[in-house]
Symmetry: C2
Subunit: 373 residues, 2 copies
Amino acid sequence: MLSVDPHMDYDEPLFFQVMKYAARADRDVVDMVSGNPDWEPPEALRRGLREYADADADQFQYPASEGLRALREEIAARRNVDVSQVVVTNGAGEANYLAMARALERDAGSEVLLTDPVYPYYPGKAKMLGGDATFVAVDRDGSPDVAAMREAASEETACIVANTPNNPTGAVYSRETMAALVEIAEEHDALLVADEVYDHFDFSGRFESALTIDSEHRVVTTAFSKSMAITGFRVGYAVFPESLVDAAKTRHMLVNVAGSRPAQVAVLEALRETDPAYYEATRELLTDRIDAFTDALDAAGAEYERPDGAFYVMARFEGFPGTLDNVERLIDEAGVAGMPGDAFGERYDDWLRFALVTPRATEAADRLADYFG
Amino acid sequence: MLSVDPHMDYDEPLFFQVMKYAARADRDVVDMVSGNPDWEPPEALRRGLREYADADADQFQYPASEGLRALREEIAARRNVDVSQVVVTNGAGEANYLAMARALERDAGSEVLLTDPVYPYYPGKAKMLGGDATFVAVDRDGSPDVAAMREAASEETACIVANTPNNPTGAVYSRETMAALVEIAEEHDALLVADEVYDHFDFSGRFESALTIDSEHRVVTTAFSKSMAITGFRVGYAVFPESLVDAAKTRHMLVNVAGSRPAQVAVLEALRETDPAYYEATRELLTDRIDAFTDALDAAGAEYERPDGAFYVMARFEGFPGTLDNVERLIDEAGVAGMPGDAFGERYDDWLRFALVTPRATEAADRLADYFG
């Protein structure tokens, strides 16, 4: 169990620094830094936005604070939850903020239990909310080490955050793991926050939403940002237990009043009218990229775990630890920009993270194979 | 000086209750409850949205966290501030939240000094952020009582919030008042938050932005919600002093990641391409409504102050105090729905607030004149 603070400078997050360095480089560089999908959003989303542009002026006024009723009903029906439990948020970012705030506001401790490696926003939010982050190293496959999490949890634990499919490890947590984490949360009067923003990117066929685990100590957060390739629209949601949802809605109202209505309208249209084939096609696209990329990693003699979900690959190259210096060297000498592993904690500080959301993923793979091979 | 908590049930704000009652009424009712503009947004806004619907997919991804650069530059140029000081937010709601959070996070006290009457979100935000609200009754004309504010301020004061043009009083604070409030903030190491969301609705010709008062203790917040008739788009901004802006950007990033991009793009187009005549026309529309409404108040023998700004009128009818009961009676017996004054504090708990953002304002005025006259 670690108790460290990963590299996180929010005024200029590390990934901005890396992208700036890549932009200034004296050569062509493939950007594998950021997590922005590079494919087309659903056509229905564009249509929804186009139609909305000509809507009556009263459609341009405040939506309900908790989200457009029709959108919440569509979500509730698809997720098999009561509509009252659904809060539409400004992306998964706000959903996680609301869930973590709720966890820390119950006078049930101030500790936030996180994995190492971790998506850096979680410890940032924990700190802002007055919580103390504790990091527990993941298993070799990138899944939580349940025994170590259980060991680390105590009466001080207010919140456990689990991101599955996982950024950065690519692990898809098993149902047993998630059930165990919910159980740990229940034992210590904590909340398990399941961030499932990559839920549409499961290549293992094993992903199961934590919504299937019934508990007053479980909050599920997600967004349409990745699944519809619209990270800039900021439409996500949280599903809270009935006992917690009112307080979460109050905070949402006091912070944001409501989410942006044009984006909600467009997402609703896309949710209703997009064929499952759209999501299937992006999964196939990513599977092909994973194949090509991991073939190249094999050729380069790298250590890696083939991702079961999300769209990142962690890789370790012999004698080439994942420092910022080495990330910059790889930009200059191989023309590939990744993220230093220590941006996510200590567990993978020898590693590099590559995001596969670029049409040039195969080209980058060839460059890495040439450089390290 | 009062130290009370105005009626504020955020799970179902009072105005929802009143609107529901009005909707259930057994007769036609003019809604003068909510603050949603009833006129057309700028045509350029619709065009901006229409064009964006067909933009390249990369335009659908994360904007910069602090807002689209072009939008921030347009704002900075118009407001004569450095672009680095501008944070684009999810409406004025988030701008006020960020400003008040900054004020309360400096270890400079926990008191938030507010006027009575007050826009109910301010004490709600103060409480959520761990602050203690103190209410100071306004002058007869609805402006802050500067002497009483000075008297109330102490080393415990972290924040003073001033909304001008004011909701609900309609007062436009004088430059001297604003300068005095900034001075009080400086004396006690507090922040003066000037919420200027009604800045385009000044009928007095005397409104001057607090941006003209140079101070490290002054934050200006506003939004395009009212001026462009797009309360549902959620695009606003805060202008922070250089010394405070980085911390505010960090909180914005940790809460929301970024604001919604379609809305920002549409607002940018509207900001660039909308003729001043658009704003002038809405002011004329509102001036006509104020004329008709105050004529009717005269006929009804009501006490009121003609609003210098914003779009609300506070009125007191002899023997008819502004309780929720009387609001409901007015709905049933006169067919006009207003807000009870005690929703805003104690100073005007005998009064009713009427929002003039309905094409039926004149009809409502006639009904009131008939009922009370």
